[in-house]
Each structure stands twice: as C-alpha cells, then as structure tokens.
Symmetry: C2
Subunit: 298 residues, 2 copies
C-alpha cells in the first residue's frame, strides 16, 4: 500500500460523495443553499467520512448505505464550524484562509444556514432508507442514526461545545477539559468509526471497540492541535506564546506542559492502534492514518 | 363530544408526553439542558402534537410510536422560536410574557441550546426504533422521519424562515409571501398531520390529503395571526395600526386588506374541512379544532 496515494483517493471519494448530496441552489431558498454550499466547499480534511469509510471497508462493508452517512457526518461537522465562528461565539472572520459564513452572508443568514445544514445532515442520512428496505439493513441504518444523533447532541459534540463556551476565559479543571475534549472533539470521530462498524454489520463488541479507538484518536488529535498552536507560534510567528495562552484558553498544554501533552497524545495513539489491531480485516490504512495525524504540522 | 374538554385532555396528553422526553439537567451539560427545558416549558398551545395525534387517532393508529414523534415536533417548533428571537434575527426579549432564552442564558448559550434542541428532536424521534423492530413499523418510522426532515429543512420551515429574514423590511410580492407562509408556518403543520397518517398506516393518497389539509390550515392560521395583529392593536392598544404595519412587514393584510384576508382564511379553512371529511374515521374533533382556530383572539 502506498499510504499517501490511498489517502488521496479516499479523500477524493469522500469529497465527491459529499458534493453529490449538497442542496440545489434554486428557487426562493437559493441564498440559504448558497450559504450551506459555501461552507461545505470551503476546504477541510474530510477526516470524519474518511474514518467512517475506512472502518467500514476494513470490516467488510459493501453496500451504498455508507454514502449518505459519510456526507451527513461532514455536514454536522461543518454546521458546528458555522455556528462556532459566529460573532456571539468565537467571532472568527477567517477559517482556512477563507471568510467565514457570517462574514459573507450576514449573521442572521449564517445562524439559519447552520440550522439548515444540521437538519440537512439528517435529511441526507435518511436517504439510507431509500437504498434498502431489507429489515437487517434498516436496523443497521436505525442504529447508525441513533449513534449520529447521540454523539452530535447535548451528550456529545454540542454538549462539549456548550461547556467550552460557558467557561470561555475561565480557568478549567482537568476533569472539565477531559469532558470538552471527549465531546467537542472526539464525539464525531467516535461516531464516524462506530457508524462504519454498524453499517458493516459488526457485533456490539466491535462497535464498542470502534468507539474506544475514536475516543483516543479524537483526544490525541485535540492535544496535537494544542501543541501545534504553541509550536507554530514559536517557529512560524517567532512569538514566545501561542494564541491559546494569549487568549487565556485552558488546554492540555497550558495545564500540563508541552512535554506531558506530547506523551499523552503519543500514548493515546498507541492505545488506539493496539485496539485497532484487535479487530478483523486489513487495518494498515487506518493505522498509518492515525500515526500520520501525530506527525502533522497543521 | 365536549370539544373544550377533549381539547384540554389532548393538550395535557401532549404536554405530559413532551415532558417525558426532555433531557436531564445533570453533569457538565446541565446548563444546556436547563436552557433547552426553559424554552420547552415556557408555554405554547402544543398545537402541532395535538394535530398529529388527532389525525393518528382518526385513522385508527394504536401504537406508542406516535409519542416520540409528537415530542420531536414540538422540539423542532421550539428550536425555531429560540433562534428567531436572537438579537441577530428578531431581537425579541419576551415571548408569551416570559423572557426569551438568550435574555436568560446569554446569546451564545441560546444559539447552542437551539442547535441542541433541533438535534434532540431527532434523537427523540429515533426512540421510535426502540419501540418496534417489526419491519412494517420500521418502514413507517423511516417514512415519518423523512417527512419530518424535509418539512423542517431548507425546503420547508427553515427555507421559509430564511426568505423571511433575507427580505426583512423590504416590500414582498404575493408569490414570495405565499412561499414564506407555506414553508415557515405551514410546513410543520403539514408534517404533523402527515406523520399522524403515516404512523397510522395510511395509504399514500391519504397522506397527501393530510398534507393538503395542513397546508391550508397553516396558511389560514398565519393570515389569522396577521389579522389579529391589526385588530388587537386597534381594540386593546387603541392604536390605529398594528405592529406589522409599523415595522413595514409585508403580510396578507398589508398586501390585500383585512377584508380580503378574512375571506381567504375562511375559504382555506372550509377547504381543509372539506378535505378532512373525505378521510375515514371520526373527524369531529379536528373539524372543531380547525374552526376554533379561526375564532381565536390570540
């Protein structure tokens, strides 16, 4: 396997798949569709649908049912970015070098486009029921929907985001930070791997192992983000402190120091790879992907 | 049938049912659950779940599967109120005499609570799959979910809301106003009646008739709101013009005059009752409910 080539192919497949489900820019709701599509096409690693499909392939999944769920997952992730960037929350004017949705379309349109995108994610996932009405596959789709809803909601991503925003600028305990990382960052990565497993027809224990892998990779990914915030500020900007420290944002790095944070991210990634090797199928791509995320520079 | 008593009983059933699905206020996401529950318990007619259950009963539905959908419908409606009231949209500080969510919990918390409530509506609806795994009932639940997603989203309520907000303060054409009333107001009423029919096992034509009834009742309801805006200002506040006219809001009344608006609302209600009588089952409660909505004073 050439990892770089396979990653490119898998990202391209995810991208084409996402594009195939986007809303049409027509009729009275044209501007809302434009705002949704602007956000969906503003770049991004497409990591979550790539995770989902890789787990699905590894466990022997072969149906088309994975496709609406891949697109839905990226829509939910993008919905969270539109709302995070709003003036009342992070007030970010740029993301990935492009103007954020509220800067281009206005604040009220960005709130509603974010709502529409969250809802459209479910509309998209429900297409799974058009692909098969075989009872077993319908049960898998129902289970995948329950995971998607739970990991997105008040006990998942949105819950983590809520606690993060509530405590903005305050010092946080390690326990609270763990909650935020587990939910705001890990929840959708967990859901991606779990849904890949469920739709491949995996047993409950395999789905639980997928969740544990996702939890560890998600937290390691967030810690690596915190580390990069410090390193890139030092190296590229020549500043002695990162933006998190400057903004008095509590992170694993501000709480534990960079060395311990690096250890923790490495340990979590190793654990995830260990769990991955317990599962059947060819895990070489996912293993390389997990390791590459620890070596990333952005 | 004592209509008033039956309405009270049905509203109470809807209310108890909604309460049974609300999120627990515990753990780190306690504040988010409090904001969600504050909004859900701030009053309201519970009209949409009452519509849903009445259609379901009329067509002979008997399972518990209607319950999560009733609650989900009211959650989606309430989500739209939280976000409509935000400073960037309608900037309303009071609703039904109570402080709006963003006034009590802050703007960022209200944005995220609205998101969480929309998502929680789907989490709640997915409970239908826990109640039955019989293939026929799973198909009905899948169909109900598709209707719920479609009528809420970019081609439904949220699309109508988007067009309304985009054109705020501008003069609108009748065509645009029709689109807004059909989507912003009617879409969830259509969905309520359609889901009631689908879960009762109705044929496609019956579901389509339910949609047509909902469309007419929804538009008539909105026109009646426009009329009440003018009348209540005249009678109760002694003002010569209503708030819509003062805010340069285009409505059926500002566009066509109060007399023609009253005629139109009456005509639509009559059509809805006519369609209702084509359906099997005892339609007396829904008929009375439709007629009573035309006589309301608020």
């Amino acid at each position: 396997m050439n990892f770089k080539e396979e990653l490119e192919n898998r990202v391209r497949y995810a991208q084409e798949n996402i594009e195939s489900f986007l809303p049409k820019e027509e009729g009275f709701s044209r501007q809302m569709a434009e705002a949704v599509n602007y956000s969906m096409l503003a770049g991004g690693k497409r990591l979550r649908p790539v995770f989902m499909k890789a787990m699905y392939d590894m466990l022997g999944g072969t149906s088309e049912m994975i496709r609406p769920f891949m697109a839905a997952m990226e829509m939910i992730h993008t919905h969270s970015l539109i709302h995070d960037d709003l003036p009342a929350i992070d007030n970010d004017e740029y993301r990935r070098g492009k103007k954020t949705t509220h800067v281009v379309f206005g604040e009220s349109a960005a709130i509603l486009a974010g709502d529409a995108l969250l809802n459209y994610a479910y509309e998209t996932a429900f297409h799974a029921f058009d692909l098969s009405r075989a009872p077993e596959e319908m049960e898998q789709a129902a289970e995948a929907l329950k995971i998607l809803g739970n990991r997105t909601g008040i006990n998942g991503m949105l819950g983590g985001q809520g606690v993060d925003v509530e405590n903005d600028g305050r010092e946080m305990t390690k326990e609270m930070l763990d909650y935020i990382y587990e939910n705001k960052t890990s929840a959708l990565i967990e859901a991606s791997l779990m849904i890949g497993a469920v739709l491949a027809g995996a047993e409950k224990e395999t789905v639980e192992t997928a969740r544990q892998i996702g939890s560890r990779i998600g937290i390691a990914f967030q810690i690596q983000d915190d580390i990069l915030d410090v390193i890139s500020s030092r190296e590229e900007l020549g500043k002695p402190v990162g933006s998190d420290e400057k903004n008095h944002k509590t992170t694993y790095v501000t709480l534990e120091g960079i060395e311990k944070a690096e250890e923790e991210a490495g340990r979590l990634t190793e654990e995830a790879v260990g769990l991955l090797l317990e599962l059947p199928g060819d895990s070489s791509f996912l293993k390389e992907l997990f390791l590459s995320l620890m070596d990333r520079r952005k």
